[in-house]
């Protein structure tokens, strides 16, 4: 039982990272009905920005400024940088194709993804890069009722859940959130209602990408290492989580992410690490067979 609960906790921590990234896929799909394949790489760039700030502020394992301040800088730079990167990608690679064949932006998205990976590999580092997490966050191991988790794992979970709740409130409780939902429902009608659709799309890309940037910060602090290829696998997993939850649905992405993390952890822990992905994607197929729209459906977009 102790091991089961421990694996559950392991899964929730990994799953909260999936969920943060899944939110980005789902937000953008909800508004534009397009798969932003570059999203996993925006997360990777965010992680590298955080690692860069950490490298500037931490020397010989000692932070030059108070650790909390250093982490705050990392968050601002990573979220801001990733956010603007997302907006830039939309402007350059997706907006010109908004009325083109549906496959066109998918292809440019894959192009952007490869570009970002190669750019970081060539210009930043082909080898994994250290994030000096020991100088930035406590390295304590938290024990409760026979379950252990590093502080950073708890941090990952708490921050991710808090951001999800905040995003949910933003989309469902604010005026701008209504504009987003209106745009998702019917872009043309939203234009007629006086909604600046372009602005909604830009803000959506910024939000989605900034969340990925935050994911990058948390990843660096928890795992202590980042590399140019990290966004690929995590991006695919997060996309899977978004589909399980019902792509386009914010709460679905959160639940899908956590569920995927827990599934992976339990399968890896009790069945086989080798067949982990086999079972995970088998699960995806089963979910889609029973509920093609995903667990939570698509209340934000009922077109198509």
């Amino acid at each position: 039982m102790g091991t089961f609960l421990q694996q559950l906790v392991n899964g929730l921590e990994l799953g909260s990272l999936y969920a943060l990234i899944a939110l980005g896929y789902t937000l953008i799909y909800g508004i534009l009905e397009m798969l932003n394949f570059a999203h996993g790489d925006v997360f990777m760039v965010g992680a590298f920005l955080a690692a860069g700030v950490a490298a500037v502020l931490v020397h010989n394992e000692v932070a030059a400024v108070p650790a909390g301040l250093a982490v705050a800088f990392m968050i601002v730079v990573a979220m801001g940088g990733a956010g603007f990167l997302g907006v830039g990608i939309e402007r350059v690679a997706y907006r010109p194709l908004r009325n083109a064949n549906r496959l066109a932006p998918l292809i440019t998205a894959i192009g952007v993804s490869l570009f970002l990976e190669s750019a970081v590999q060539v210009w930043v580092s082909p080898a994994p890069v250290l994030v000096p997490s020991h100088a930035l966050v406590p390295q304590t191991l938290i024990h409760t009722g026979g379950i252990e988790t590093p502080f950073t794992g708890l941090l990952l979970f708490v921050v991710a859940v808090a951001l999800m709740i905040a995003l949910d409130a933003f989309v469902f409780r604010t005026r701008f959130g209504s504009a987003m939902r209106a745009t998702a429902q019917d872009r043309e009608a939203a234009t007629f209602m006086g909604i600046d659709v372009d602005r909604v799309i830009v803000v959506t890309f910024f939000l989605a990408s900034a969340l990925a940037g935050m994911g990058g910060v948390l990843f660096g602090l928890h795992y202590g290492i980042v590399d140019f290829f990290m966004g690929y696998l995590l991006g695919i997993k997060a996309f899977t989580a978004a589909v399980i939850g019902g792509i386009g649905n914010i709460r679905g992405a959160m639940v899908g992410g956590l569920l995927l993390g827990v599934l992976e952890s339990l399968i890896g822990g009790f069945i086989s690490t080798q067949f982990q992905d086999v079972f995970v994607f088998l699960g995806l197929i089963l979910v889609l067979l029973v509920r093609p729209q995903g667990l939570f459906g698509q209340p934000l977009t009922d077109r198509a």
Partner: protein, 386 residues
């Protein structure tokens, strides 16, 4: 054969000087960028140095050897594409590399099918199939899995291991090696549990929980390297401290001091075995002179960043270049068929002493060395065998 070469050159030049080939190329192949650049980059530096040194000493009868750089990024398909240029060009006489067993096994048939076949000397591919499959093109200077696995198993038993968590990274190299080690441990009544991680894995929490509930006193991880730092770093943050409540033995790719830095010190105390000698860790004036030359070429801290194969890469390049030099020149051309027969028959002078390949293409008496992470360095402890 030599007389044929001399007769051919007699028409164009006078005297008895050895015939000069028109063009000689060799290729360096390995993961020079990408996730395994920490293994490949140092090996490439060594090969460049070997070619430079060889050219300074006169090259092949006065012809400078040109080095092609084939960065296969640990991918057999990329390797095939790169190799196809070499197979088509008869002046490409051999390859130093490929470094990864999986790349060799995925591309060797193409090399063997070339006309003539394109030989290679690997500095690090250890899977037994590399030389056990009867390919005349296949050579390597490093020791094999079936020597390393038992040596690794014996080392852990000698250190007092009772329960060993054996892991591989789902590659031709790591799976075969972990199999060998696990078999040795089981044959010696050690309790083992086997697990496997995908290359690129960053989250090890699930596996660490399994290690804890299994109650392992040793973790054995056959891996090319990239997974080690996040793994040991998370072991520590989950309460498994190497050298205190757990011991860790890694393999070649993990004989890499950069893991100490990228794991923020969690790797200190870990052991790793290497299938090649570290020139800085063995006796012999040639090896010492090489270390000095390497530092002079690439900087004082270059050796500690060069990864596990900067010695064997130089050694492999030396054997290939000498085999080429020993081959006859006909009408300005050297045939790859002759290079292959000289690789098989000749004895070569290298930084590690004289080297000869057996009929399979393995070196006789390739050693296994144990290293330990101390401070910021991997320090050689001793030579071991199974």
């Amino acid at each position: 054969m030599a007389s044929v070469g001399l007769a051919a050159c007699g028409s164009s030049t006078t005297g008895t000087a050895p015939s000069k080939p028109d063009k000689v190329q060799i290729a360096a192949e390995g993961p020079f960028t990408g996730d395994q650049a920490s293994i490949g980059a140092g090996a490439l530096q060594a090969i460049k140095l070997a070619v430079n040194d060889f050219n300074k000493a006169g090259g092949v009868n006065g012809t400078q050897v040109q080095l092609l750089i084939w960065d296969d990024q640990h991918n057999a398909q990329t390797a095939q594409t790169l190799q196809s240029q070499g197979i088509a060009d008869p002046t490409v006489l051999g390859i130093v590399g490929p470094m990864n067993s999986g790349v060799v096994l995925g591309s060797v048939q193409g090399l063997q099918a070339g006309t003539p076949p394109l030989p290679f000397v690997s500095e690090s591919a250890s899977n037994v199939k590399v030389t056990d499959s009867g390919w005349s093109v296949a050579h390597r200077v490093n020791a094999r899995d079936d020597a390393q696995g038992p040596a690794d198993g014996k080392f852990m038993i000698d250190q007092g291991a009772h329960k060993v968590y054996v892991m591989d990274a789902q590659s031709d190299y790591s799976t075969a090696l972990a199999d060998q080690t696990e078999k040795y441990l089981k044959d010696h009544s050690i309790t083992t549990k086997r697990d496997s991680v995908k290359a690129g894995t960053k989250d090890f929490a699930t596996i660490i929980t399994k290690i804890q509930s299994f109650g392992a006193d040793w973790v054995y991880f056959a891996d090319e390297g990239p997974e080690a730092a996040p793994f040991v770093s998370q072991m520590k943050s989950h309460g498994l401290t190497i050298g205190q409540n757990i011991q860790f033995l890694g393999t070649d790719g993990e004989e890499d001091s950069s893991i100490i830095t990228t794991s923020q010190g969690a790797y200190v105390g870990a052991y790793a075995t290497n299938i090649t000698a570290d020139p800085a860790g063995v006796s012999g004036s040639a090896a010492a002179a090489y270390v000095t030359a390497f530092k002079a070429a690439y900087g004082a801290d270059s050796v500690s960043k060069a990864g596990p194969f900067y010695g064997s890469a130089y050694e492999a390049a030396q054997t290939l270049l000498q085999a080429i030099k020993n081959s006859p020149v006909n009408n300005g051309k050297i045939s790859r068929t002759d290079v292959i027969s000289h690789l098989a028959s000749d004895t070569f002078n290298t930084i590690f002493g004289s080297v000869k390949f057996n009929s399979k293409g393995d070196v006789t008496g390739g050693g296994i060395y144990v290293y330990q992470a101390k401070g910021t360095e991997m320090v050689v402890l001793k030579q071991v065998s199974g």
